[in-house]
Structures are given as structure tokens and as C-alpha cells.
């Protein structure tokens, strides 16, 4: 057969496969829609419309905002003052007629006076705004909020300025200096930093826009309320006098969309007062809007897959000349298409674009993949319900918790929803950030489908084994020899990565003294399970002989597989995760995020560690479950001790 013939044959085969996939997809779509009667479909449609309407309206109008800051500061300002636009834009401020008596009686918290022109001679050379707060803490807080609002307004106005040089005449070169070189006396109080110190501080704070900006930052937002001097806007907010100047607001500056204001409190200056309360709400709302429809989709999808198994109807497809993968692809395609379509509609409704869709689609795919595997394991609809709820809770937590920290820390980029937030804020998202956020979802999706397809066969589909045993069967289905053990270990890495990132995100709120040791143990346990669970599955199915040499060989293969795959976690560097202490603790033991020379020294360490600990687990796995668990604990202890040693030495 010539090369052309072979190519022709391949193309023909591929064409046939695609036709069959499309046919199964069409059939699946018909099946899933016909399983609901018209009344049910109408109710679902109404529910979706109501949820979408309420959600998007809440986002757009901000009426559902639980923020306690809404309109709490009353600001006396003249109708013709340009600062009216600033106040309108800020959720916590509301305009009132300027009246000094009202200020005295506490009816307003802040009075915006006129603008004092610069006098000749020494002193301020720019116009100064006269602002008078009411006596007391509320007056001070109102002044702070007003400053922040002005700065945010100006930042947005500058961001909209087509002439970038005019908008940002000052270019700040940021040079990141490793903490170790700063010495013990390095200042940590951001409020006292200026110049280079502020730059270093920004590296620590890593607000997401700075860390990937390399050395040149023309974005005025790098200046935050901590007194950094990198503000291109001539910020005078460090003064304590009650008459301050600021760049006059642009009358028609826009100040961001209504949605932007509702979601993110109308400001992007990065001050804690603005970031903390509105961001969880915005993220929660996005999580709600994007993830709730996915629950409908996975319920339908999971039911369809489980139905094929419980009624044994899937047997007829298996005996048809269709590859298992094609059957699964055909059955999944309609639900994936629906998920993408719904995501696109919601993204459009909240003002997002292609990036938002590209960020949320991998989440949807992971939802589907996890549901598919769960439906392949479940023995009844009751079990399937448990599985889908577990998936929903886990994935929702995973995408929601990190996104709380949007613009605060690179931890936020663990969640793809952060990319949506960034797009809505008009921030650029680097390819590295996108890969970091969505990579684990894409790879997890692939591995979950791979495992599920492995048990999409007569012998496993229709058996009534408990879920844990089915899980072991799914792992065993992908084992063939020693090399497959290493490959499977490597394929588990996305899950390890996800578990570790989730641990980082969850432990982030705890004190470092508590979170780091806890994290080290969690990471060790997760990695040891990932390296040994399939070895246990292989022994349980008698795929491998239970001798000590075999166990050690399999352990070594698994250790090497993990060691190689672990290097891909270097993607975390793209978003600056190793700059955080928790990030260091999580990644340093793998040689990520430390100096190249040190990495070389540490190269052998992880390899030996993973090989030894996987060998320990494998020795227990060759006997029975109890001894496997004992050996797993031992391996975790060794691993955690190693991690602690590395972090202590190099942290």
C-alpha cells in the first residue's frame, strides 16, 4: 500500500468516525430532549430565563448587592461640580446639596468646596480641592472613600485615554529583588515604602497586573493606597490636611460600565476598602451565573449515561462497529455544546467576551468529564445524585474561593473566573495566566474522560460493584505494564495540582505558622496517593505479581513518572505563585521557583524522594488494603519531612 493509499484510508476512516460521532450526538440530543415532556421543558425554560434575568439584572443594576457600603457616605457637592460624576460612580457615596450647616449637624459626612488656585511663590503649584469632612470617624472614613473614588475615577479615565503617553507620562521601571537579598532589615510595612521598596512590595503583593508586566509598567494602577510612588496620576492622598488636590476629573470620562461598577464597587485602585467587600460578591455572582446552568446540564448528561448502564441499552452500541471513544464523544457532544452556548450567552450578558467564554468552557468540560466518570461508577440514580452534588460543591469551591482574591494575589488566578473578572475590568490577561488557570481543567478533563472510557465496556458498565471498586477498575483498565504505571502517575498530575492549589487557596487565610506545616502534609499525602493508588488497583486485580521486587519496580516507575510530570507545575511561575510564602512551600520541594543553581542541586532530591516513597507505598499495596494505608501514612510522613526540610533550608 502506498503512502497516498494509507493517507486515503486514514481520511476515510476518520470521516466515518466523525459521521458516527455526529450521528450518535444527534441521537443523544433527541433522546435527552424527548425524555422531558413539553410541560417540563417549559418549566425548565422559564426557570432558566428567570435565573438568567435575575442574575444579570442583579449584576447590571447592583440591586442585589449585599455590600454594606452602598450609599453610606453623604457628600455635599454642588450640582455643577465635576465631582458629581465621581460620587455617582462610587457605590458608597451619595450626593447631597452642599450645606455647611448640614455638615455641622451630621446630615452630610463630607463637604466638597471650591477649588483653590495656586498662589504665587512656594507651595502647591496645582489647584487644590477644598474638602471638609464632618467631625468624627465617619467623616474621616468618608474622606478616605472619596479619595479612593477620585483615584479610581482618574485611573479609569486614564485607562480610556487613547494617547497612552499623555495618560501615563511617567514610566516606572520595576526591578524584582529576591527577598533573601533584602536582608533581615528589609521593611515589610508597605505604608512606609517609597521608590524601590515600593516596587519590591508590589512584587510581594503581586496584584496580578504587576507580576507579569515584566520590567515596564505604564499602568497607573500599580500605585495603591499604601503610598507607593508609582502613580502616574499625581496622587496627593498621603496628606493628612483636609484640603487636597487631585487631578480634576474628566467630565465625560465614563468611569467603566454599569456592570463594572456593580460588580467591582466602581474602583480599580486596589485599596483594601474597595477590594474586599465587593470582590467576593462579584465572584460569587459570576460563579452563580456560570455554574448554575452547568448543574442542569450535568444532571441530564449523568442521567443519560447511567440510563445506558442500568437498562443495559449501551450494550447495543458497544456491539456496533463504533469505537468506545466515539460513543462517549457522541454522547457528550450535545451537552458540551449546550454548556458552551449557555456560557457564551451568560458571558455576553455580563459584558464578557471571548476570553470569558474561553475561561469558563474548561470548567464546563471538567464538570462534564467528572460527571461522566461519576455516572460510570454510580450504581443507581441515588448514587449519581451524590456524585453530581460532590462534583458541584468541589468545583464551585475551587473556582470561587481563589477568585475572592482577584487583584490581591496570584492565588486568584487558580480560578478561571478570575480571568472573567479581569476581562470585565479591562485588564490584559497573559497567555501564561490563561494556561495556569485553565490548564488543570483541560488536562483533568482529558484524564477523567480517559479513565471513564476505560471502563466504558461490557464487563464494567453493567456490573454492580461499589464506587471505590469501580474506581480501582477504572485505574486498572489503563494499566498494562511497568511503563503504564509511570504514565498513569504522570496523568494524575493535574489532579494533584488542583488539590494543591485548592489547599493553597483554602489555607491562605490561616496564619503562616499554621498554614505552611499543614500545607506540607496535605501536599505529601495528595502526592503519595497519586503515586500509589493505581499500583494498589493493579495488585488488587492480580495484574501484577505480588512480589517485593515487582512492588519496588512499580514504585520506581511511579516515582519517575511523577518526577517528570511535576516539572510541568513550573507553569505556576508564570503567574508569580512562588512569590508567595504558601506558593514557595508548595512548589519549592519540587524545585520550582528557586534559583537555577539550587534547582540543579535539588534535582536528584525529588527523584529519590518520589521513588523511595512510592516504593514504600507499593510494598504495602501488594498485600491488602490495611497495609496499603499503613504504608501510605509512612510514605506521607517521609515526604512531609522532606518538604519541611527543603522549605526550612531554602524558604
Amino acid at each position: 500500500m502506498t503512502r497516498v493509499d494509507r493517507l486515503r484510508t486514514r481520511l476515510t476512516t476518520a470521516g466515518r468516525r466523525l459521521r458516527r460521532i455526529a450521528r450518535i450526538a444527534r441521537w443523544e440530543f433527541g433522546q435527552s430532549t424527548s425524555s422531558y415532556n413539553r410541560r417540563t421543558l417549559a418549566v425548565i425554560a422559564v426557570l432558566v430565563v428567570v435565573v438568567a434575568s435575575v442574575g444579570t439584572s442583579a449584576v447590571a443594576l447592583g440591586v442585589a448587592s449585599p455590600s454594606p457600603n452602598t450609599d453610606i457616605y453623604r457628600v455635599g457637592v454642588a450640582d455643577n461640580s465635576p465631582y458629581n460624576a465621581v460620587i455617582d460612580d462610587h457605590a458608597s457615596l451619595t450626593a447631597r446639596p452642599p450645606d455647611r450647616t448640614a455638615l455641622a449637624t451630621g446630615e452630610i459626612d463630607l463637604l466638597i468646596g471650591g477649588v483653590r488656585q495656586p498662589a504665587a511663590g512656594p507651595g502647591p503649584r496645582s489647584p487644590t480641592l477644598l474638602v471638609e469632612p464632618a467631625d468624627g470617624e465617619k467623616g474621616d472614613a468618608a474622606l478616605t472613600a472619596f479619595r479612593s473614588a477620585v483615584q479610581s475615577y482618574n485611573d479609569r479615565a486614564m485607562a480610556l485615554e487613547p494617547n497612552r503617553t499623555a495618560a501615563y507620562p511617567v514610566v516606572v521601571e520595576l526591578q524584582y529583588i529576591p527577598q533573601s537579598t533584602l536582608g533581615p532589615a528589609a521593611p515589610t510595612n508597605a505604608g512606609n515604602l517609597t521608590g524601590d521598596d515600593a516596587a519590591a512590595d508590589n512584587a510581594d503583593d503581586s496584584d496580578g497586573t504587576d507580576t507579569d508586566a515584566n520590567d515596564t509598567d505604564t499602568n497607573g494602577t500599580t500605585s495603591d493606597a499604601d503610598g507607593g510612588t508609582a502613580d502616574g496620576g499625581g496622587d496627593n492622598t498621603t496628606g493628612t490636611d483636609r484640603t487636597e488636590g487631585d487631578a480634576p476629573p474628566v467630565a465625560d470620562g465614563g468611569g467603566g460600565s454599569l456592570l463594572d461598577r456593580a460588580l467591582f464597587g466602581g474602583g480599580t485602585s486596589g485599596s483594601p476598602a474597595e477590594i474586599q467587600p465587593p470582590f467576593p460578591f462579584g465572584s460569587l455572582l459570576l460563579a452563580f451565573l456560570f455554574l448554575v446552568p452547568m448543574n442542569f446540564v450535568i444532571q441530564s448528561y449523568g442521567s443519560s449515561v447511567l440510563n445506558e448502564r442500568i437498562s443495559r441499552r449501551g450494550e447495543l452500541l458497544l456491539v456496533a462497529p463504533v469505537e468506545r471513544l466515539d460513543i462517549v464523544a457522541g454522547k457528550t457532544l450535545p451537552y458540551a455544546a449546550i454548556a458552551v452556548a449557555v456560557t457564551a450567552v451568560i458571558a455576553a450578558a455580563v459584558g464578557g467576551g471571548l476570553l470569558s467564554v474561553a475561561a469558563v468552557v474548561p470548567i464546563a468540560l471538567t464538570f462534564l468529564a467528572a460527571t461522566f466518570l461519576g455516572a460510570m461508577f454510580a450504581r443507581s440514580f441515588k448514587e449519581l445524585t451524590f456524585v453530581t452534588i460532590t462534583i458541584t460543591v468541589f468545583l464551585t469551591s475551587y473556582v470561587f474561593i481563589p477568585s475572592i482574591f482577584t487583584n490581591v494575589t496570584p492565588i486568584a488566578l487558580i480560578s478561571p473566573l478570575t480571568l472573567v473578572v479581569m476581562e470585565l475590568q479591562g485588564e490584559a490577561v497573559s497567555l501564561g495566566s490563561y494556561l495556569f488557570s485553565t490548564g488543570p481543567f483541560y488536562t483533568s478533563t482529558a484524564v477523567l474522560f480517559l479513565l471513564g472510557t476505560g471502563v466504558y465496556r461490557e464487563e464494567d458498565m453493567f456490573s454492580q460493584k461499589p464506587v471505590p471498586l469501580k474506581f480501582l477498575d477504572a485505574l486498572d483498565a489503563r494499566l498494562s505494564g511497568v511503563r503504564s504505571v509511570g504514565v498513569l502517575t504522570a496523568l494524575f498530575l493535574p489532579f494533584v495540582f488542583i488539590a494543591e492549589l485548592l489547599a493553597i487557596a483554602v489555607l491562605f487565610v490561616l496564619p503562616i505558622e499554621v498554614s505552611i506545616p499543614l500545607l506540607l502534609v496535605v501536599i505529601a499525602a495528595v502526592e503519595e496517593v497519586a503515586k500509589s493508588i493505581h499500583i494498589f488497583a493493579g495488585f488488587e486485580s492480580d495484574r501484577f505479581d505480588r512480589s517485593v521486587p515487582t512492588a519496588l519496580l512499580l514504585g520506581a516507575a511511579s516515582g519517575v513518572g511523577f518526577f517528570v510530570a511535576e516539572k510541568f507545575t513550573a507553569v505556576a511561575q508564570l503567574v508569580g505563585l512562588p512569590d508567595l510564602q504558601l506558593g514557595q512551600a508548595a512548589l519549592q520541594p519540587a524545585g520550582i521557583g528557586i534559583a537555577p543553581s539550587t534547582t540543579l542541586l535539588l534535582l536528584a532530591g525529588p527523584l529519590v524522594l518520589h521513588t523511595v516513597t512510592a516504593g514504600v507505598s507499593a510494598l504495602g499495596a501488594r498485600t491488602r488494603l490495611r497495609w496499603y494505608l499503613v504504608s501510605l501514612v509512612a510514605a506521607t510522613a517521609i515526604h512531609a519531612a522532606y518538604n519541611l526540610g527543603v522549605v526550612t533550608l531554602y524558604g
Binding site: R19, A320, P321, D542
Partner: protein, 315 residues
């Protein structure tokens, strides 16, 4: 058309099928019988490529049973064959025709012709709304939608009323005329006896007997002769109609009774042959009460010990 050699399937310590060996010719209807758990369905599913054998080989229509290309040559009817109840018979068959890459015009013609042969009404009614017999006929039609050379029918008449059962069995016999090779499994041995050219009897995963129904009857059945005499003899017992009857197993004994009757001044008035049914043989074989076969050879290919007697095909 089908060659099975040393086919074995184990699940952990449990052996579902142990070293099955048989060959089936084109146009033959081949029965696989045995009690529940004998390994019939596992054997059929290994032939259909649904279950991977632990060891041994199975070749169907020239393809390895695990080869996806083989499925183009195969029509499989599982014991439980639930349909997609929201589809009509036509749309259901059309769907499978598409999966088998049957051209649209050919599929339409074939579907209508098969449904005609099966006398299937309500072709555009939801399958959820038709009778069990109709559903089974649709399932049979589905097995033919790709015009396969080999058909594997696992309990095709299970749970059907007598009329539909006869219809299904007659249709199965007609397939022989179409030069189809059919493997037929059934609990009801009358069905097997009436349809199959050859059978294997399985028990506990092993083939314990094989051959044509006549061969098996000859090998395992004890044909008895009921000899009626008008004279009382030592070997006879009186019957209700006033005659005297002896039940013997060999023609030599029949001849001896004839001689004795003549000597006693009487004669033998009637000799009737009572042949065993396949069912009675099956019950004896699987009930561990093994009749003494005339020829017994261990055909266990793996050399494993077996408590059953296994025989070569009768000449």
C-alpha cells in the same frame, strides 16, 4: 465461519468459561445450552467482542472477535434487549443502520423488508407503546440491519407468548436459508431441538457434550424398547389393557423376549421405541448424573482436571 479455540474467561478466582472449543460452518444453526451460570452468555459475548477472553482465540467471519471490523459481519441479540422507547421502530432501525454505514436507500429497503418478514405492525409507533413481542421482533430486525453473515441470538424467544415464540423460531430457521450462521442460546431445549443443527451443552463453564441432537441422543440417551406380548413372561408386567409389557434397553433383549414369547406359545404384538428428549439428557448431564457415554475423551485443551466427561463430536 466461527472458530473457537481454548476460549477461557476468568473473573478473579471464578472461571466463567473454561477452554471452549468448537467450529461452526456457514449456514449452520448452532445451539448453546446449559443451566444458569453455565457460561453460555459469556461465551456468546466473547464471540461478539463484548468481553475480552482471558485466554484462547475466537474467530468470527475471518476476523478476531475483538476486531471492530468483525462487527460489520455480526448481528447480536442479547438476552435483555431494551430499546430506546422514545423512538419508533423505523427511526430506531435507521439509527443503527447509520452506525453500520448502511447507505440510506439500502437501509430503507432492508428495514421494510425485514419488518415485513417479521410481520411487524406499528412501525411508526413509539417503541415504549408496543408489546413485548413486538419489541423483540424490532430487536431481531436490528440484528439484521447490517445484513451480517453471523448472528448471535441469546435467548431470542425468552418471555414471549407461544405464538410469537413460534414466529421467532420460524424466522430463525429461515435465516439458514439465507445462508446465515446463527448461534442460538436458549433455556427452552425444545426450541433448541427444533431449530438447531448442532448443539453444545455447557455446565460450570465447560462444554460437557456436543454434536447434533441425534448424536447426543445416541451418545447419552438410553433408548428404551417397550415390548408388548400377548403372553405373560418373566420379563413382562401386565398393563391396564390386558397386555404384557417388558421395557428393555437393547435389541438383544428384545429378541430374547420374542424368543421367550414364542416358546411360551404366544407372540410379541408390538414394539415401541422411546427416545430420550434433549431435555432429559440435559438434566441428567447437568444434574451430575452422568449416563455412561459410549465414547469419552477428555477434550480439555488446557489440561485442567474436570469432573465432567467430555466427548468428541460423534462420527
Amino acid at each position: 465461519m466461527i472458530e473457537v479455540s481454548g476460549l477461557r474467561k476468568t473473573y478473579g478466582d471464578f472461571a466463567a468459561v473454561v477452554g471452549s472449543e468448537f467450529e461452526i460452518d456457514r449456514g449452520e444453526i448452532f445451539g448453546v445450552v446449559g443451566p444458569n451460570g453455565a457460561g453460555k452468555t459469556t461465551t456468546l459475548k466473547m464471540l461478539a467482542g463484548l468481553i475480552e477472553p482471558t485466554s484462547g482465540t475466537a474467530t468470527v467471519a475471518g476476523y478476531d472477535a475483538g476486531d471492530p471490523e468483525m462487527r460489520h459481519q455480526l448481528g447480536f441479540l442479547p438476552e435483555e434487549s431494551p430499546l430506546y422507547e422514545d423512538m419508533t421502530a423505523r427511526s430506531y432501525l435507521r439509527f443503527f443502520a447509520d452506525l453500520y454505514d448502511v447507505p440510506r436507500e439500502v437501509a430503507s429497503e432492508r428495514i421494510e423488508s425485514t419488518l415485513d418478514r417479521l410481520d411487524l405492525e406499528y412501525r411508526d409507533r413509539r417503541l415504549g407503546d408496543v408489546s413485548k413481542g413486538m419489541k423483540r421482533k424490532v430487536a431481531i430486525a436490528r440484528s439484521l440491519v447490517n445484513d451480517p453473515d453471523v448472528l448471535i441470538y441469546d435467548e431470542p424467544a425468552s418471555g414471549l407468548d407461544p405464538l410469537t415464540t413460534n414466529s421467532v423460531l420460524e424466522f430463525t430457521e429461515e435465516l439458514r436459508e439465507d445462508d446465515k450462521t446463527v448461534i442460538f442460546s436458549a433455556h427452552n431445549l425444545y426450541h433448541v431441538e427444533s431449530v438447531c443443527d448442532r448443539v453444545v451443552i455447557m455446565n460450570e463453564g465447560r462444554i460437557i457434550a456436543r454434536g447434533s441432537v441425534a448424536d447426543i441422543r445416541e451418545q447419552y440417551g438410553e433408548t428404551t424398547y417397550h415390548v408388548y406380548s400377548d403372553t405373560a413372561l418373566d420379563a413382562t408386567d401386565p398393563t391396564a389393557d390386558g397386555r404384557h409389557r417388558a421395557v428393555v434397553e437393547t435389541m438383544a433383549k428384545v429378541e430374547a423376549i420374542q424368543a421367550a414369547a414364542t416358546d411360551a406359545g404366544g407372540s410379541v404384538t408390538d414394539i415401541r421405541t422411546d427416545e430420550p428428549s434433549l431435555e432429559s439428557i440435559f438434566l441428567e448431564l447437568t444434574g451430575q448424573q452422568m449416563p455412561s457415554p459410549r465414547t469419552a475423551t477428555d477434550t480439555e485443551p488446557t489440561g485442567e482436571p474436570t469432573t465432567e466427561h467430555e466427548v468428541e463430536d460423534a462420527p
